[in-house]
């Protein structure tokens, strides 16, 4: 049923740390790798080696630049997958009941054998977290790796989403937001975890940790006084070499007053 549960027992989701993400796209690849051969239809590619290749991915990494007023611009890599919204608009629009939010853990899933591929849920998702598979004609989205996190055939260390397990920078964290003592709840509280597009009232479960502020142009390091240049004039062999090189033509002139 596409009614949303009034509350869920657990609220499983991800914390994504925009401070540490290095934009390597490893999560994109491991997500595709795991999900193309497990739950549901494979994630197809169209013209993978041809012109304008395209394919289905459940996780994508954008790159943005933030430029504070008068400050230095900062690059922020921005992974984006389904946020498993509590107030998921993608679920209620579905005419077939294929899209649903699980009462037990809050994961938003698509039952592919009921999906007619109308695409309306992708229209309703503000974040672009759903992609209609062009080969299968059914809707694909992040499953929160539901077939890993409860999978007793996997070693315990692997019972987390593929993207979390793979991230070399530790920028993705998995846990239960309903538990205030969980790793993700604590991280969110400590670092000021944010909702994306809060004005649309989707109440995303996944949270984004803002990048820490970087140095500004004006701040002088407290160590600066100890970093006085040690040798103003080159001496010894380097001094001789410097002189000889200066005699050769083609040097950048450092004469004062000259243009």
């Amino acid at each position: 049923m596409t009614d949303l549960p009034t509350s869920t027992e657990k609220k499983l989701g991800l914390v994504i740390d925009l401070d540490t993400c290095v934009g390597c796209h490893a999560c994109v690849i491991s997500c595709k790798g795991w999900n193309t051969e497990n739950y549901g239809a494979p994630l197809s590619d169209q013209r993978p080696y041809g012109e304008e290749p395209m394919g289905t991915f459940l996780n994508r990494v954008h790159s943005y630049e933030v430029k504070p007023e008068g400050g230095a611009a900062q690059t922020v890599h921005f992974p984006k997958s389904c946020l498993h919204c509590e107030n998921a608009p993608c679920v209620t629009v579905c005419p077939t009941g294929a899209s649903y939010k699980r009462k037990e853990d809050g994961i938003v899933l698509v039952n592919e054998s009921s999906c007619i591929g109308c695409g309306l849920c992708a229209w309703a998702c503000p974040y672009g977290a759903r992609e209609l598979d062009q080969a299968e004609g059914v809707m694909k989205k992040c499953t929160l790796c539901v077939d890993r996190i409860y999978n007793e055939n996997l070693p315990e260390v692997d019972r987390v989403p593929a993207c979390v397990r793979t991230c070399p920078a530790g920028a993705r964290h998995f846990g239960d937001f309903a538990d205030p003592e969980s790793n993700v709840s604590k991280l969110t509280a400590e670092r000021g975890g944010m909702d994306l597009m809060p004005e649309l009232n989707t109440a995303p479960v996944n949270k984004y940790l803002p990048p820490r502020l970087k140095d500004s142009w004006d701040d002088e390091s407290v160590l600066a006084p100890f970093l006085e240049p040690v040798a103003e004039e080159t001496q010894g062999f380097m001094g001789w070499l410097d002189k000889q090189l200066s005699r050769l033509p083609g040097d950048v002139k450092q004469t004062e007053g000259a243009e």
Binding site: H25, T56, V61, Y64, P89, P95, Y208
Partner: protein, 291 residues
């Protein structure tokens, strides 16, 4: 939004068809026998033809029956249910007129309400989407309903009413366009709120996650023809309302003139629907630094 032909054909034809059925249902002096057959044939052809065309964009049309199950939350499901009910009731009413020469007027009225209900549910599929601010207004329902009623009046030969309604539909259309042009900015969603980084400075997209357009970009970011928008709006209004109004006012309702008026009207509505989709900006575009 990508203006898919199947959806443009669907909303244009079904709107006119259900509008026609609504007028036929409340007609106090309905024609019977062959006369009735002609009207109902056209109305059903438009309504059903449109509905069938809408299934062409489905990934799995063979599972379409499942779409009737979620009427409690889904406007798309409600539309399906409403359309089937409207067609059934109006089918029975039409059968009475054609074969028995009798009008069961209560059935006609119920059918008319269901027909307009179908148009309303269609409009709500779009109007409910907060992701597309241009559509996300009750005016979208008003737009769909006035178009359907005006088209229906024209198609059922109610000339005087049609003249008034076509002018009214033009007004609604112009207001809808005007409000729509600022709807996205008014909503306040931008790359700042989309990334949560807006309070630290100006955010811009440096690199897309992929090198060529994916499903999201093809479906949600459609910029082709934007530079012609104003021209297309004029063309749409001219064909949808101006031409039929002038023709009918000057020459009255002879069959040939009526046919031209109807074709012009439908072409105008189709142009309006093309614009409806092509101009619509989805919030996904923001993540790609476009709209």
């Amino acid at each position: 939004m990508h203006p898919a032909a199947s959806v443009i054909v669907f909303t244009t034809l079904s709107g006119a068809g259900f509008g026609m059925l609504a007028w036929l249902g409340i007609d106090s002096t309905p024609s019977t026998g062959w006369g009735a057959f002609g009207y109902y044939f056209v109305a059903f052809a438009l309504a059903v033809g449109g509905l069938l065309s809408s299934t062409f964009h489905l990934g799995h049309p063979e599972r379409a029956m499942k779409a009737f199950t979620q009427w409690r939350t889904s406007w798309l499901s409600r539309e399906g249910v409403c359309a089937v009910l409207a067609l059934t009731v109006m089918g029975l009413y039409a059968a009475g007129l054609i074969f028995l020469g009798e009008a069961l007027s209560i059935l006609g009225w119920i059918g008319a309400i269901l027909s307009l209900g179908t148009v309303y549910t269609t409009s709500m599929i779009y109007a409910q989407l907060a992701t597309i601010p241009r559509w996300n207004t009750p005016l979208t329902s008003l737009l769909y309903l006035t178009f359907a009623i005006a088209g229906g009046a024209l198609l059922t030969g109610k000339v005087t009413i049609a003249l008034v309604l076509l002018v009214a539909a033009s007004f609604v259309q112009v207001i809808w366009w005007k409000k729509g042009d600022t709807a996205f900015a008014d909503r306040g969603t931008n790359l700042g709120t989309a990334t949560g980084l807006g309070d630290r400075g100006e955010v811009r997209s440096l690199a897309h996650p992929h090198t060529s357009p994916n499903y999201l970009m093809r479906e949600f970011i459609y910029t082709v023809g934007r530079k012609h928008v104003q021209k297309l709006r004029v063309i749409s209004l001219t064909l949808m309302a101006a031409v039929p109004v002038v023709l009918l006012a000057l020459f009255g309702a002879n069959h040939f003139i009526a046919l031209i008026a109807v074709l012009s009207h439908i072409a105008g509505v189709a142009t309006s629907r093309w614009l409806f989709f092509a101009e619509a900006e989805h919030t996904v575009g923001i993540y790609y630094g476009m709209r």
